[in-house]
Amino acid sequence: MNKIGKPNLEIFSETLLSEAKKNKDIIVVTSDSRGSGKLVPFGKELPDQIIEVGIAEQNLVGVSAGLAAGGKIVFGVSPASFLTARSLEQIKNDVAYSNCNVTLIGISAGISYGQLGSTHHSIHDFATLRAINNMTIVAPADNFEASEVIKQAVSYNQPLYIRYGKKPMMDIHPAGTKFKIGKSILVKKGEDLTIIATGETLQRAYLAYEILKENNIHCSIISMHTIKPFDKETFLEFSKNSKAILTIEEHSMFGGLGECCANLIAQNKIDTKLKILGIPDEYMINGSQSDVLDYYNMSPQKIVEISKDLLNK
């Protein structure tokens, strides 16, 4: 059994603090989100490298863009829900189209806020940001990915959005794994089925893999941490050589990982089966993150059932 690590959000703040100590051009901008972004230690240790704009997400993104235009390496940190909906126009015009070196950190992303309800959930962020040119979108899965993406963000030098959840995450990747924004990671290799997961749903895919293996079903598991630019090359290779593809995401079924895969399958005339798991187009049921994901067929047991069904087993 793999070890359960820390919440990815904690890893984000620890990594950012360590990078910012080495580079005084790194500036963090928060919208009363210091606590929820786990940035209290950052504020204490590097008070000159944190700007607080209060509860004003549009201003947070605009100010971040201006700081970047002034030569700073900027991390704008705010709950994913508000950041990618209320400030969408600022992300589009001031960050992406004006090509400002801003990394936007969407905290407590997806349905991390659980019972706080739909105002606080961000199951739209992949869809909205994918349609904006010059945006990179990353959803790290485990502590390793959560840390590596921040290290790379410092020198990425172009608009970037990273979403983080707040539950402790299982360590998936062994030591020596390579992480690169835009390049997926092959977690397990098997010939029957390919399961592609993004962000924190990778843990669920991994647990399903263990059960499938006991049932003598061998699947590949891919961590598609970068939603855009999409690792088309790896996807096409696996989709051409798999009996079926199963995608899993903590996001609306509209406009996210699954639709991206469906598009590639159709455009490239690939003959394979595809099943998309995500949040359907309905007023989402209330519950904890875990219960909601289970309800929408993303429990490891349900992933196993759906996999068997796809393979007619």
């Binding site: 004003a56 605009g62 863009a65 201006g66 700081l67 235009a69 002034g70 030569g71 001031d94």
Partner: protein, 275 residues
């Protein structure tokens, strides 16, 4: 540049604005004419921005938040040598970077604007970067008066005041009109000065179509150490051409051939008076 030459430039700039709008068949005539004197004074007498220093950061910055008055900005940047008149003549043509709102694809433009209420936050971020770097460069931003209804403007004001950005100069093009009608009828925004004062700004009123008034005002900035400045520049929409002034329908009306000819004649007459 001396006052007389600046005044002549303002007339020449007005002719260019009308020419490029007439020839390209689109543009924001009224607003470009109302803010042209402000841009003239900024680029030719106040700001340290030139094609030579533009790629670096040790210079002043200008964000035109009222992006729709782009014909005024294009005209001034062309005159300052950022690109040729030939480049500018591609305005609104297929595949030209010279389009109806500013983008960074055009030399001399710092930031994409056009969606209102964005520029002040960006200017605040730039001004903060100068403070962090302990640089004395200034950041200027031009807002429309109708734009002040955007809530994000006031979000940005709170940050400008909190961080004591006395290197930030906000200019309001107060021409009293917006696309639907008079600003005070569409959505009243007065008292503008009191609003900014209460948000922690030092405010000053001036005539935004009077070169000598503008020169005097810009000499005084920052008005007060530790406070951002707002200059409420009273202007006339369509300023400089009698039949365009204060006419709501000239917000983005394109002159007919006859109107274009009459406008140029009026401006030439004024120019001749300087000879």
């Amino acid at each position: 540049m001396n006052e007389k030459n600046l005044k002549k430039k303002s007339l020449e700039y007005r002719k260019t604005i009308l020419e490029i709008i007439f020839q390209s068949g689109a543009g924001h005539t009224g607003g470009s004419l109302s803010c042209i004197d402000i841009l003239n004074v900024l680029y030719n007498s106040v700001m340290n921005i030139s094609p030579k220093n533009f790629s670096g950061l040790d210079r002043d910055h200008f964000i035109q938040s009222k992006g729709h008055s782009v014909e005024a900005l294009y005209t001034v940047l062309c005159d300052c040598g950022f690109y040729s008149k030939k480049d500018l003549s591609t305005l609104n043509q297929f595949n030209s970077h010279f389009i109806g709102h500013p983008t960074i694809k055009v030399p001399g433009i710092e930031h994409n604007t056009g969606a209102l209420g964005h520029g002040l936050s960006v200017a605040v971020g730039l001004a903060l970067s100068k403070k962090i770097d302990k640089k004395t460069n200034k950041v200027f931003t031009l807002l429309g008066d109708g734009e002040l209804s955007e809530g994000s403007v006031w979000e940005a004001c709170t940050t400008a005041s909190k961080y004591k950005l006395d290197n930030l100069i906000v200019i309001i093009d107060r021409n009293d009109l917006q696309i639907t009608g008079k600003t005070e009828e569409v959505n009243p925004i007065e008292p503008i000065d009191k609003k900014f004062e209460s948000f922690g700004f030092e405010t000053i009123l001036t005539n935004g179509n009077n070169i000598s008034d503008l020169l005097n005002v810009f000499k005084k900035i920052p008005m007060k150490g530790g406070k951002p400045t707002v200059i409420i520049a009273k202007t006339t929409k369509g300023s400089g051409v009698s039949f365009i002034e204060n006419q709501i329908n000239w917000h983005h009306k394109v002159p007919s051939e006859d109107e274009y000819g009459r406008a140029i004649s009026e401006l030439n007459e004024k120019l001749n008076s300087y000879e």
